[in-house]
Symmetry: D3
Subunit: 130 residues, 6 copies
């Protein structure tokens, strides 16, 4: 039996409080499916949202850079949902198509050279360990 | 039998030409182990360097952003060599410790939520497919 | 050309023998798609089923713990089929929604801290190698 | 330049507060390297420890089951540090050698059948989506 | 907003030149979706095609062996598109169903033993480093 | 507490029987560390060896092709032990340095294009599903 999303109208007060904070913080009318599914575990919902909110707030890195890094990881892991949602989020934060193209080129190249380094069993240069 | 690095003095003219271009482009006195091992396959060495050089040139994304994305992928894949070399490259390109800390926090969080999305079998919101 | 499932009525005696054993062992009326596709290679079908049967039999670990570990791996790898089938199997073996929520929280956290350990290049504590 | 661990004597009050909580909660004399490296980012240190502490507290799942799931993920991802530290933690929480052997057998089998399901392109059985 | 494929009739001269080369080299009437999407970044399209063409040309390894290795990687990574396209390419290059079955068995077993080696923390035999 | 290898002289009769079969089948004087560690779980040792022996026997694919596929998977997963041991095994089975170079080039390219397909969210061509 697959789980169903929990909609706002059916949510407990604890879940609604998180949904409200997401909607206010992101200025959206409804939360994404990710949060509606995670709502099956209210403690996990709150902890995950609190962490995402803290981590994704602009700091030493700006919002679009953080979203592009999120997308780079999601593409590497092949998480379909995450690629769709963070592509949208990165574009909303200012990623142009040219930026997306370059991001994908770097992600592709890194995935390639990671395996070349593995396969050729390249030892770490002493300079990198200083 | 593990392979050994190919040093400049022992390299063929084709390999030396790539090593020279790496040294000139990066303003370094010697190339990293990665290139010395890949030199066992001169065609692969040249193709990989040409691609890396083209992809990592600043364009719509600047150099430090590209290096941080490279690092995010390498950390996700757990490539020890690549983490060491691209940590160094990102720092050289301007990544501060505060930027590294935020990068790692995003990479960690993305790896976590990728699995939450997988495990809860979250369907893609129609808005993301428009 | 994608492969099609092999149904019992179309199966060879060798494949039917495995299907019969799965149905008897699991007390089900039909085998899952996984086995119907693997049936294209009868030797692989038999070897895989024999291993799964031996490994998933309760021993030092009970059935629900084994199924939750299977699910944790499948979620980490992002295998959609395996997540669907082993979610069902784990629930059948006694995994409650509270257990599922905690399982997912651990899987998410482990995927996060695995990358933090990678990225910070944390050396193994001597105590762990004793 | 690789980072160095931050020892208690050199730590800021914010970092010391987390180290103290780890030592008290786990009844250990010193924290593991993981925390000494993560201490370079005090906000990440605190957030990660708070989450780990909340998630690993026995609830619907007991401590040893949670540690074994953590280990299953770490083994799947090939995180050397995490395998070493969570092998130790799981044994401390009660994992016997027989339990470890069965855990590894399930992890190995799941990683195998995940790929068989991928490669044979097995569609999800309708029963799993009900 | 998801991207759309770029069809030949709507493509720039630079993109058409690559599409033409793919069609001629592979003796196909139209290019696969992969190239139609990558065409959003013409530089990446050209670089990727040039590399694929060079790498997949028979040399020390024949065409079917190269396609099977491509498929083994794609199955391990769980890339649905790549599994579908390289299954087709491998069959076109001569992979029989018996070869596919054995390929999958090796891929499954390697994914299993990779994790057993990780989990048991097996040190590399000195003989492998000579 | 890390595990130690189990040497022949200290092994139980059941473990010795497997070790003997490995030594005879492979014409080697001693088994690799992998088997000495797996020997902590004699049932897993026997099951894994029986599967490896059956799967790696030449059939529709010859020995060197099977070893190269094993290596391609191990490189993709970044399993250091497996890369070392299967590099050696592939060379012993006849893989030349030219073959190794081409293998690595295909593995690298596949890991790259797997991510490009993920990131561009490329839908499967209808022709591949026929």
């Amino acid at each position: 039996m697959a789980q169903k999303p929990i909609e706002y109208r059916d949510a407990s007060p604890a879940v609604r409080a998180v949904f409200d904070d997401i909607k206010t913080s992101r200025k959206v009318e409804d939360v994404n499916n990710f949060w509606k599914y995670l709502a099956h575990d209210p403690a996990s919902l709150k902890r995950t949202w609190d962490s995402v909110k803290a981590i994704m707030t602009p700091g030493a890195l700006d919002a679009v850079t953080k979203e592009m890094i999120y997308l780079a990881v999601s593409v590497t892991n092949g998480c379909g949902y995450c690629i769709a949602s963070h592509s949208a989020a990165a574009r909303k934060a200012g990623m142009s198509e040219a930026m997306f193209g370059e991001l994908m080129a770097v992600v592709g190249m890194a995935n390639e050279t990671n395996r070349l380094a593995n396969g050729y069993r390249v030892p770490i240069d002493p300079a990198f360990d200083k």
